[in-house]
Symmetry: C3
Amino acid sequence: MAKTNPGRFFEDYSIGQVIDHAVPRTVSGGERALYHALYPARHALYSSDEFARSVGLPASPLDDLAAFHIVFGKTVPDVSLNAVANLGYAEGRWLKPVYAGDTLRSSSEVIGLKQNSNGKSGVVYVRTRGTNQRGEIVLDYCRWVMVRKKNIDAPAPETVLPDLKTVLAPEDLVIPEGLDFTNYDFTLAGEPHRWGDYEIGEQIDHVDGVTIEEAEHMLATRLWQNTAKVHFDATFREDGKRLIYGGHVISMARALSFNGLANAQMIVGLNGGAHANPCFAGDTIKVWSEVLDRAETAAPGVGALRLRLVATKGGAPFALKGEDGKYRPEVLLDLDYWALIPR
Amino acid sequence: MAKTNPGRFFEDYSIGQVIDHAVPRTVSGGERALYHALYPARHALYSSDEFARSVGLPASPLDDLAAFHIVFGKTVPDVSLNAVANLGYAEGRWLKPVYAGDTLRSSSEVIGLKQNSNGKSGVVYVRTRGTNQRGEIVLDYCRWVMVRKKNIDAPAPETVLPDLKTVLAPEDLVIPEGLDFTNYDFTLAGEPHRWGDYEIGEQIDHVDGVTIEEAEHMLATRLWQNTAKVHFDATFREDGKRLIYGGHVISMARALSFNGLANAQMIVGLNGGAHANPCFAGDTIKVWSEVLDRAETAAPGVGALRLRLVATKGGAPFALKGEDGKYRPEVLLDLDYWALIPR
Amino acid sequence: MAKTNPGRFFEDYSIGQVIDHAVPRTVSGGERALYHALYPARHALYSSDEFARSVGLPASPLDDLAAFHIVFGKTVPDVSLNAVANLGYAEGRWLKPVYAGDTLRSSSEVIGLKQNSNGKSGVVYVRTRGTNQRGEIVLDYCRWVMVRKKNIDAPAPETVLPDLKTVLAPEDLVIPEGLDFTNYDFTLAGEPHRWGDYEIGEQIDHVDGVTIEEAEHMLATRLWQNTAKVHFDATFREDGKRLIYGGHVISMARALSFNGLANAQMIVGLNGGAHANPCFAGDTIKVWSEVLDRAETAAPGVGALRLRLVATKGGAPFALKGEDGKYRPEVLLDLDYWALIPR
């Protein structure tokens, strides 16, 4: 019996199948510090325990995206080791903050399957849940990936396409227990702009840029225990390049959006996201945002903004797609998320 | 209203103005471990809780320079985003050690202004204070930077030049409460040399060298939440180079000085410092020190050494300035500080 | 008196000499997180406090190899600063797990000396012990290095060759107190293979590869406070290359062996090891293992596997030595160790 994990192929998935992913992970101040070293993260709620307490939380949580990457990383050996492409995300919800000392695990349920017309691959839809040591779900999201078949002759499964929301409604969002922005300190947070200062349709050029290094994306991707060979092994692709984990671009983009969205503190919903083009070491990431929607919430002083976050490698701000409707070649990421901001 | 921070220009500063800087930061064992990964730091007091307790402290503090970088980093968006040059430091004093769990914030007061004769820029002097979550000042220092004017026609402010000490007197230094070197373990610290073994005028070639990498200086500079574009964005300068944060050179130089100054445990005073030439990835940093002065202190067994710390990129030791009185081209840093050492 | 450490030369060692190494180190969650960022480490026992508790330990320990590197790093200034080569290891035993908050120190005893026939150097054998803050020995191993003489005319010492075991017997291994694999969760650990599934002689190609970066090996080597110039200073060797610390290759190889040996959780014995060829940045490390022996232990559900771990830079799996009996040029590491695995 071969001892190494060959990963699952398209024909290995079935509707309703639940996969408990391996390697639970306890986080500490170490993961928090590394997140701040890897990304120019400056949102005060994730930087200062005192600031977090001033808005009703017991301490500064692990960055929402770090929690996402940890939960996601565990799924890679079971879901995307033989993936051709990571196609999309939907219905991502952060349900509980993650604190130092928490232990995360994840599991995925297969919620959709569709064999491609070429018969060589298919699309697998999973709903992944991240759980803490008390069994509380901290994160819940869907993603779909194209996976190769190993045995071309394996019969096509019945096509099941999950009914996924293209956008989470404001009432779908879960506000962390106790969160209260009524005494929010805008000076310590870094910017004066509150919920009411952002208009739907408004676009923000976040100005700053970061040039990506091999060592950094590998440190990050390993930290999340993501094992996809293509990120680490320069001999894996014919062009000798290491493909950068899409989540590294997401975190870099989110951190860079601080300059203009310093008060968009917590991410609570992921409506969708596309890794429009691959990112490689040497690329300089710049980002822009667009306000897609606004909503009130039931929590005191807390509003929500639906934001588009676009990362480019050196492109001009606000250009997204060409006349052909396809992403422009310099666009790396198009992310659609809900964030909480003081009203 | 533009949402991003354009930084302040020379005409935006006024004498007596107090700027509370954003993004407080809680430190943990994560920052300590990263400091040891980024620099060859070996001073026992910062490496071992047990050693720190043996000299009267409750635990091993965060490295003094890490505390400096955190306090400094917060000032960048408000003080040096439009700076042409970081001109100098004075009267830097470490007043309280920083421990895991502490939360730091900083504020700066404008204490000097002088428009340059060209009318296009001016020098801004600030006194910056770093404060912990109990409101105790942990660090206090002055620096001055040359800042561009945005509006050339803005009237020149009245020139005010602060009266800054070129050297802190021994009685200005604050010894951490409880510090007692009478039972100091020289074997665990790594060298037998005590206060009395260092003579004024003595020069030490620290022998070791480290070649600088892009990934490392960016990890460090982000960790301190320093946002200056020039450190991160390879497209920012015409030559495509990323300028290395001067504080990265300071920490690298200090750590390299362990070999010969292993017992110069705590930095308590910064008399001055010049970033003589820019540092870029690929430079190999070597350092030498000179004993400038010696002083006794009131704490048991604790002496103080005033040290010059010079970092070069491959220069011969002990050469500092040319015949023209200017720093030699290979000199990166000339730092003047007070450190505590067992007597 | 020169202040810097020149290191010891061959004539400075004598049989029975005990050297207490400097710079004790307290570890925290920071070191754990960094270990996971630097290496693709996924063994569940070192990743999750909850998993560690489920097998009878109080929390997730620091990775065994991180403990080894910390203890080893302290010996470098005293043992291998003037070493020509690191020749071998024997009788390495992990005696106590290391937990966050523990402070490690190390000391070495000279147990063997043999001057080389050329009269210019000699082999020094030491037994090194790592101790925690309670004085408990956590690690004990022998290594031997070739060290230059400073004074060629110094008389040769009497040759003493220590009687070292080439392989630790199963009864030499120390099982951590309380370890109990009877309720081991194979799903969370990542693989179903237990002790009985591995046969003596079985070979495993671990498939994955990692390309090595300068920044990463220097971060790691500094984290362990290993000061050997050759790892950090690109101007030190004539070819301008930085030689990668052999321990970096050991940790990378062990982490890569997860894929096929996910349940070989704890390293308890180091029988021997050879750094067959130097490793440089840009090399892509791949690894394979061979099962050399199996043993039962007295702890509930706990078996032991003796494993050969071979790291190569791009070589085909399972090739180790050429017809001349020498290691093939692509082989970097040949390690022989005992690991604990559920029966």
